[in-house]
């Protein structure tokens, strides 16, 4: 009575069509292919050629996955196009929000004198390095011109707590305006915690302010990076951390590290320090080129290779921790994994295309200058004003946002029309980095073949793909990282 038909009856035999995708070599002759929304598959070279010639057999083990991940389709199928369009739209939807991160540099005064910092100046008293209320008001006008329903205001310096009155001024003024604006308003203060007082903490608690601090590693490493009169940066940090957590809550204090060449041999110790202090993740940051004189060749080859070793060792240690039952995240990997494994974009300024400068983040400096990004400001402090967009006191929102400086940088660095980037399989995971490339190459595009940004990121992309392919539990862990809020 069998009216049932076998699998053959439902297997299509027409020739398939290729959907848009890119490919690049992984290891040896193994390739990775990526579709328009960043979904990927590993394919061996001979298979890739057969695939491209549209000769891949339906029975081939890869065939079903190629179809499911929208690398191929049959010409009469509409669903793959609708789904790709939907995913693409989701990925791009963050752009319509426009600028979300607004950095207020309230003072250049600082109680530390870190060697790699370009921006800090004298200690107390000197108020000519402080932002004025006038500038703050105009900056807030600018902030609320952004259409984004979620606005983040971050205070930086120097040490913002040295001009706490300005922090207070901006927070209170912003909240007053927000009664009408009704945005989702978030405040962050980037501080070393060395100058935390009860009064400051009470204010932060009242207004739900997050503290973003620096932790470079164990005490000796941290103190070596962060000289302070009294040589007690770490001790003050640790005391401030406990106090802040107590008043604000453990989730309201986050830490970022600065990586110097002293950090490179000590990644496990640095992670251990984060674990010891109860942080649930670390952002293994790249070496910043801004602090050092930009030594192109040395910086490029030795330092990038050495940094990659540092990164991979750190990531491996973190995976061990997770296997041992200690949830701990590497944040840079999380950002990338979000782009690889979901249709969401993490909105991380340095990994955006079009570049995040201006359109995702903007900086209001203590002197009224407006910069396209934090890097732009640092570049200016080194003498290069290329990415200064204007003056908050004299220029209008349109002057600044529509300035040629900004628009040219965005357009020229756009990866989908950049040499090497436009063909690169990893482009969906990467970003345009006009300021960095301008700093190194004096050109917003840069020569990617010589760019440490490119080399570093490409190596990490391949590394993460390799890790996921070799171990299902790592793959699942990475999916969790990619989907964390």
């Amino acid at each position: 009575m069998s009216k049932f038909q076998g699998l053959d009856a439902y297997t299509r035999s027409a020739k398939y069509e290729l959907l848009p995708f890119k490919f690049d070599r992984l290891e040896g002759d193994n390739y990775v292919i990526t579709n328009m929304t960043g979904e990927y598959l590993e394919v061996a070279k001979p298979e890739l050629h057969v695939l491209l010639a549209k000769d891949l057999a339906t029975e081939h083990p890869l065939f079903a996955s190629l179809r499911a991940k929208h690398f191929i389709r049959y010409a009469d199928e509409q669903a793959p196009l609708d789904l790709l369009a939907l995913k693409l739209r989701t990925k791009l939807s963050r752009l319509t929000g426009f600028t979300s991160l607004h950095i207020f540099v309230v003072t250049l005064r600082c109680d530390h004198s870190c060697p790699y910092c370009q921006v800090s100046r004298q200690m107390d008293g000197e108020t000519s390095f402080d932002m004025t209320p006038d500038m703050a008001d105009k900056a807030l006008d600018f902030v609320f011109r952004s259409p984004n329903p979620a606005i983040k205001i971050e205070f930086q310096g120097g040490e913002p707590l040295l001009n706490f009155e300005m922090v207070r001024y901006v927070v209170e003024a912003a909240k007053r305006r927000n009664l009408d604006e009704k945005r989702d308003l978030e405040f962050v203060i980037a501080t070393t915690l060395s100058l935390l007082t009860d009064e400051v903490l009470a204010f932060c608690h009242k207004h739900d302010i997050i503290l973003s601090t620096s932790l470079d590693g164990p005490a000796d490493l941290h103190n070596a990076n962060r000289p302070r009169v009294g040589r007690d940066s770490f001790e003050r940090f640790e005391a401030g951390l406990a106090k802040a957590r107590n008043v604000l809550g453990v989730d309201r204090v986050s830490a970022l590290m600065t990586t110097t060449d002293k950090s490179l041999p000590r990644v496990r110790e640095i992670i251990d320090e984060y674990v010891r202090l109860g942080f649930n993740g670390i952002f293994l940051r790249a070496l910043s080129p801004y602090g050092f004189a930009i030594k192109t060749r040395k910086f490029m080859t030795y330092d990038t290779e050495r940094w990659l070793e540092f990164y991979k060792e750190g990531l491996a240690y973190i995976l061990e921790l997770n296997k041992a039952g200690i949830p701990f995240v590497e944040h840079y990997a999380s950002l990338i994994l979000k782009k690889m494994l979901t249709s969401n974009d993490p909105g991380y300024v340095d990994l955006m295309n079009p570049a995040g400068a201006g359109i995702a983040a903007i900086v209001f400096n203590y002197d009224g200058s407006v910069y396209a990004s934090d890097e732009s400001r640092m570049l200016a402090e080194m003498g290069d004003q290329t990415f200064r967009l204007g003056d908050i006191l004299t220029d209008s929102y349109e002057d600044i946002i529509l300035s040629d400086v900004l628009l040219d940088a965005l357009e020229q660095s756009f990866t989908l029309s950049a040499p090497m980037c436009s063909d690169c399989a990893f482009e969906p995971y990467c970003g345009a980095e006009p300021v960095f490339h301008h700093a190194i190459f004096k050109d917003v595009l840069g020569r990617k073949a010589e760019s440490s940004f490119c080399k570093r990121n490409m190596s990490i992309f391949k590394h993460l793909i390799g890790l996921m392919n070799s171990d299902a539990s790592t793959r699942r862990l990475f999916m969790q990282w990619a989907n964390a809020c």
Binding site: L18, D24, L86, R89, S93, M420, D423
Partner: protein, 101 residues
Amino acid sequence: MAGLAELIFDGQLYGAEAIQKAAYRAMHAFTLDLKVDGDNILCTLVGNITTEQEAFERAVEEFRKDVLDYQLRAQLQAETAPIRNLIIGLAFSNARLNPSE
């Protein structure tokens, strides 16, 4: 002593653009002189002063693979350009899309 290599590509099979793109990718190791001679494309690869011989040779090998890859990419790009535009059009059109909006 800078590395030096000469390669000949069949102009029927490989476009100059593929070769140039592959060379761009390799510029950390060498620079390229390109000359068309009838049906052939003659390539002279001149290693950078700072590139050692072994690194240069590895770069040449990668270059040869890259030329083929870029040639294939060009074909793939040409073939899928219409459908890519269709998908982008769908993505940007107001109608129909985004269930979660």
